[in-house]
Amino acid sequence: MLVERKSEPLLEFRQIDKTFHSGTVSELKLFDHFDLSVPQGRFVCIIGSNGSGKTTLLNLLCGGETPDAGNIFLGGREITREPEHVRSRRIGRVFQDPSLGTCPQLTILENLSLADRKGKRYGLSRGVSRKKIDEYRSRLELLKLGLEDQLDLPVANLSGGQRQALALLICTMTPIDLLILDEHTAALDPSSSENVMELTRRFVREKRLTALMVTHNLRFALAYGDRLVMMHRGKAVLDVCDGEKNALKIHDLTERFNEISVEDGNDV
């Protein structure tokens, strides 16, 4: 821990301010001098109720939104105002909606071939290189979904779980600094969710990725990752790592959620 704290964090939100509907009656100041830093190699789970700022946090990071003030750094470089597609070169993201992480009309093979060129030029050479097929096959075998035999099938024909597994494979295929998992199991059935989570753990571990996972599933938040952050009204109300995180029980989290709910004036 001590060593990590000293070194430059991989991801850092510094003094972020963000207000929505500024100047109207529904003005909402979500982030007020918000700070968060994630060291290299961490797998952070972020939980929180709706409107707590989880999604905004990801949008600020990926470029869907710009903060009113403050800076965001990734790998020592400021990305606060970088265009979305530029910062995407260093970030992999799996979305909640399984149709967003791949291109439905294209085949599995075409999707993989496109992903393989991430950050490089897309010129007039052949889109699918036959030489690479064996490599793609062996990558798909890792998913254990039998996709390696269906390379020419359009991705639209796959189930949600298969698509999420493929999306996960696709965004970790090329070297990235940060993996973002945006409620990526929320739209799946329980067994597909488990499968995708296991794959996530494996990819993160094998490729030594730094990951940020937003989830509503408290069990996953506890079972996976080595740091847990609970967000509420734009603040991290709970931030625990390693042993402290392992000691947490679902009960502790639901209790904490209830406290927050009471603070908000809701009956429990």
Partner: protein, 306 residues
């Protein structure tokens, strides 16, 4: 004699169908691949005619005129793309703006005349390889030239769509977020696709006017309707056939649509009602295949599953 008339009509339908097929391929790129309802085609089609007309009338090589027409169409399509992507004007309005502006541009190209004749100048139907077929087989020769031009464009387009850039173009129309996550700007792909689509429309206009040996700035009216009908009919009717590429289906759609129009004229429909019939036919096609614009995104995503 009746057979002669029929064969003559058939040759005409096929020849025009193949030429319009080139434009339909352009609309296939914008509407089907990119999911962009591009109206600028109504202006770029006659732009191709006018550029070719003026160049050929002044004695320039007709093949050079084809390339120039493509380039001018691509430039105009690029403007539509820039208006939409950089200035955030809606897709339909961007097309209308360019279409309207092109009316003046086309008149400027022809120095103000609505019709630019270039009779007896060498065209792609009479010079170069086409000269191998004698003048006595005039209409057959036109058909061969139209067919080869269309086939050439189709094969090139097929090859392009298989390249890395082509795959990215298809991804940009299907799931722009995916393109973003690959570190590319989908807006740039849209601009590229619009350039390609409008370049093809202008090329089609250029090849059509060379058959008539005169360029007409009114020739763009109804091109969207014709092209969309070809794409929708082609993709829905013919794509069910295995191993038939969408691009081939689109060309067959153009030929079929042209055939129906000519048949209606032969059955005594006054020429003045032609555009009305074109609109009615497209309406029938849209209703039959339920691909009205609001539903087009959904329809296309699930097309492979149907």
């Amino acid at each position: 004699m009746a057979l002669d008339v029929f064969l003559g009509l058939l040759t005409g339908v096929l020849q025009e169908g193949f030429v319009y097929g080139i434009m339909a391929l352009g609309i296939y790129v914008t509407y089907q691949v990119l999911n962009f309802p591009d109206l600028s085609v109504e202006g770029t089609f006659p732009l191709g005619s006018c550029v070719a007309g003026v160049m050929i009338a002044s004695g320039l090589n007709p093949w050079l005129a084809c390339m120039a027409a493509f380039a001018c169409g691509a430039a105009a399509g690029g403007v539509t793309g820039l208006l939409h992507v950089k200035l955030h004007i809606t897709d339909l309005l961007s097309g209308i703006l360019v279409m309207t502006a092109l009316w003046s541009v086309n008149l400027a190209v022809t120095s103000g005349s609505a019709v630019t004749p270039f009779y007896n100048q060498p065209t792609i139907y009479t010079s170069g390889p086409a000269a191998l077929i004698s003048d006595s087989h005039n209409s057959l020769r036109a058909l061969v030239v139209a067919f080869i031009s269309c086939l050439f464009v189709k094969l090139l387009l097929d090859e392009y769509l298989k390249t890395k850039s082509g795959l990215l173009l298809r991804a940009a129309g299907n799931n722009p977020r995916y393109v973003v996550s690959l570190g590319k700007d989908p807006g740039n792909m849209k601009i590229l696709g619009l350039m390609l689509g409008n370049g093809l429309a202008a090329l089609s206009g250029c090849i059509l006017c060379q058959r008539e040996e005169s360029a007409d700035i009114y020739s763009g009216t109804g091109m969207i309707v014709l092209g969309l009908a070809a794409v929708i009919v082609g993709v829905n009717i013919f794509s069910g056939i295995r191993f038939l590429r969408s691009t081939t289906a689109v060309i067959l759609g153009a030929v079929l649509y042209r055939g129906v129009l000519v048949a209606a004229l032969q059955m005594g429909l006054p020429t003045n009602y032609m555009k009305l019939l074109m609109a009615v036919l497209l309406t029938v096609v849209l209703v039959a295949y339920k691909t009205v614009p609001t539903g087009r995104r959904k329809k296309h995503v699930s097309r492979t599953e149907v």
